[in-house]
């Protein structure tokens, strides 16, 4: 592995029927990321269950109930590395609590793989996956048209799926979309180029994942630094040190930059950017550093340091696309804790503007009751202003979660419009 190799996080959307588990198994197996004892365990289970051959899908099962019932309950994370990149797969289940899990897996992903069965083309599920991928603003979408072996590797079948996909996806906000014809079962165009589809000029899936440009996935323009905690060593060597610890959410900070602390509005200049190894001239997302300022001002957790010439908008009335994640629906006028970066306030849902029919993508302004897995546009009112950016501009400062104080559970995730 080279020192400048990057980390790419992707999510896989689809069900066992689409060949999702086979595809993941194929990627891990062909990149030599499955260990012998893991393979042995899967072989034993396959035999015990009376399956023909090795069922690679078993590799992606984690919990006892999942193995017994042959379903996936929760997001599972898989890892593999090639000489070019390290990969994290957020493997989201196809059936149970689908939206909740895909939203979770998609929230940190650079790329989404959407699987389409070449025989069936674009179906409701494909639309649902693509909608969530665009809602969560996953920067890169790869549509894998799978089971090409079952349509005689036909270019016509492949083009038909692309046409169908482009027709409905024109309504969605997707920046980078690619199509790859594959057979996960036989390995065509997964790791190795297929000999059965000479008409396809593009790269196989793994090569695409290894080479796609992801450095621009993080916003490099708007400098945002949510403060996590204050470092005050009060030691001999650092008697007066007062550092603001945090992770740069977006943009670049340099020593000497004029900054504003939100929400107080106090201004100062960056005095130093520190890490254990070195004092830095600049820090960029997603680096974790400690920042000191030239002036002694009152700053605490939840405050945000930003460059004075580019500030987020403080707001108490916030429109978000809200995904409800919990079994218990919201109670009318109920108050929740809202988390935005490191800031926590109280919020209530003032109005449900519309609910999205996740099958047809139509807006429903009649039925406004939020249930688990529903996605809707809502108006929130917070007790104090949050320093927000639009989610499409900034995934870190544009996202919120709601927590039910009665149970402490995370009940909803919101993307600021």
């Amino acid at each position: 592995m080279l020192d400048n190799n990057q980390l790419l996080r992707f999510t896989t959307a689809g069900s066992v029927d689409d060949g999702k588990s086979t595809l993941i198994g194929r990627l891990l197996y062909d990149s030599k990321s499955i260990f012998e004892d893991q393979l042995e365990a899967i072989e034993n289970t396959s035999k015990r269950k009376g399956h023909d051959g090795v069922d690679l899908a078993l590799f992606t099962d984690g919990l006892k109930d999942e193995r017994e019932q042959g379903i996936t309950i929760d997001v599972a994370y898989r890892y593999f590395t090639t000489p070019k990149r390290k990969f994290i797969i957020a493997d989201t289940p196809g059936h149970i609590q689908y939206t909740r899990n895909m939203v979770t897996g998609a929230s940190t992903a650079n790329a989404a793989i959407i699987l389409v069965d070449a025989r069936h083309g674009v179906i409701e599920q494909t639309k649902r996956h693509s909608f969530i991928a665009s809602l969560l603003q996953i920067p890169h979408i790869i549509v894998c048209i799978n089971k090409m072996d079952l349509v005689d590797y036909s270019e016509e079948a492949y083009n038909k799926v692309i046409n169908e996909f482009e027709e409905f996806s024109s309504k969605l906000l997707i920046h980078d979309i690619r199509f790859i014809p594959i057979s996960a079962l036989n390995g065509d165009n997964v790791v190795n180029r297929s000999k059965n589809m000479n008409w396809y000029q593009g790269a196989p899936l793994l090569h695409t994942l290894e080479t796609m440009h992801i450095s621009s996935d993080i916003n490099k323009v708007d400098a945002r630094f949510p403060v996590q905690t204050i470092l005050r060593p009060q030691s001999e060597s650092h008697r007066d040190y007062r550092g603001y610890a945090g992770r740069v959410a977006s943009g670049i900070f340099r020593v000497g930059d004029e900054i504003t602390v939100m929400p107080s509005g106090f201004t100062s200049k960056i005095n130093s950017i520190d890490t254990l190894e070195a004092t830095l001239k600049e820090a960029y997302a997603p680096m974790s550093v400690s920042i000191t300022l030239e002036d002694d001002i009152d700053i605490g957790r939840g405050d945000m340091i930003v460059r004075s010439n580019n500030k987020p908008e403080p707001s108490q009335d916030i429109e978000v696309m809200l995904c409800w994640l919990h079994n218990n629906p919201p109670k009318p006028r109920a108050k929740y804790s809202i988390r935005h970066t490191t800031n926590e306030q109280k919020a209530m849902i003032k109005e449900v503007i519309y609910k999205i029919n996740i099958e047809s993508l139509d807006r429903n302004t009649e039925d406004k009751e939020l249930k688990m897995n529903d996605i809707s546009k809502v108006k929130l009112r917070t007790t104090k202003p949050l320093m927000i950016d639009a989610y499409r501009e900034n995934r870190t400062t544009g996202s919120v979660i709601l927590i039910d104080d009665a149970t402490n559970e995370t009940v909803a995730a919101g993307m600021i419009v």
Binding site: Y77, L231, R247, N408
Partner: protein, 301 residues
């Protein structure tokens, strides 16, 4: 000209530092669970970075089974001294003496499962609300489902089917009195990442990880070290081999592998060619297919 992106190790490091600072900000009384193994050493190293130039603002906690490698205890004491940190020890022997747990019987008896009670007792008596561990999702199938911030009820139990969703980088550590969390800052690291990072940062690790001559016996497909706790079977024989350990647990259950890797460079090269998972040499995981999940549900690390 700067590149303005992080390489994968820097990104993993930054993520872990972020998690450690979130733990400190969201909990009143966290500890690092320190076993003397490479993963907890790594977490401690990352905590040093997270709070620099301040000291690590919380104690380290060791659950001492009494079945230790002497090298591990020495290493633990040295690192505590070096950090100027506080050490909390939960003793399995005391749990046995107090009648909280009973020693397992039979030739494969270990104190592995007994640790759960000692750990939960120590968490309760020290009023710990977050125990930071070195668990990684690539280690084991139940751990692949683990959150960064993982809730434990007031019996210390994990409910894997009912976990809080974790979105973006927003971590919800809210809890009621008596409940606690486990936090896993290196969730996204693989064994290879850990070794590459240890090599890059030149982090001190116990000598047990390096190839060395040791008295061992061949049992359950690996080399079990000779110790005062080892009971030999008739057919078994103690031999001296050049071995090293891929993971460290109790001396009674941690199997070594034959190896000549005596530098970090050689270890990293060896690990990259490994075809068995690191826990393959741990007899505690071999008991059943869901051995780890069952222990984790009860409150294991």
């Amino acid at each position: 000209m700067s590149k303005y992106y992080l390489n994968y190790l820097d990104e993993l490091e930054s993520e872990a530092i972020f998690i450690l600072r979130e733990v400190w900000a969201q909990f009143d009384n966290p500890v690092i669970l320190f076993s003397g193994g490479k993963d907890s050493i790594l977490v401690t190293h990352l905590a040093k970075k997270a709070f620099y130039p301040a000291k690590i603002p919380f104690p380290l906690m060791h659950v001492d089974t009494g079945h230790n490698f002497p090298e591990t205890i020495q290493f633990r004491d040295d690192i505590i001294k070096d950090l100027g940190a506080q050490l909390i020890v939960g003793s399995v022997q005391e749990s046995i003496d107090d009648g909280r747990v009973a020693e397992e019987k039979g030739k494969n008896a270990t104190r592995n499962a007994l640790q759960i009670t000692t750990l939960l007792d120590a968490i309760e008596s020290n009023k710990i609300d977050c125990a930071i561990g070195g668990g990684r999702r690539d280690e084991e199938k139940a751990r692949a489902k683990e959150r960064f911030f993982s809730h434990r009820d007031d019996f210390g139990q994990w409910d894997p089917k009912n976990q809080r969703p974790e979105l973006w980088n927003i971590f919800n550590g809210k809890h009621f009195e008596g409940e606690h969390f486990r936090a896993f800052p290196i969730s996204n690291w693989t064994e290879m990442d850990v070794w590459n990072y240890i090599k890059r940062e030149n982090i001190a690790i116990p000598s047990l990880y390096y190839a060395h001559e040791r008295e061992v016996v061949w049992r359950q497909d690996s080399w079990i070290p000779n110790s005062e706790f080892l009971v030999l079977e008739d057919h078994e024989e103690i031999v001296t081999k050049k071995i090293r350990f891929r993971t460290l647990g109790d001396i009674t259950i941690t199997g070594g592998i034959e190896s000549d890797a005596d530098t970090l460079e050689k270890i990293a090269n060896e690990v990259s060619g490994m075809r068995q998972t690191e826990r393959g040499n741990r007899s505690d995981d071999k008991r059943s297919e869901s051995a780890m999940e069952d222990r984790k549900r009860q409150g294991y690390f």
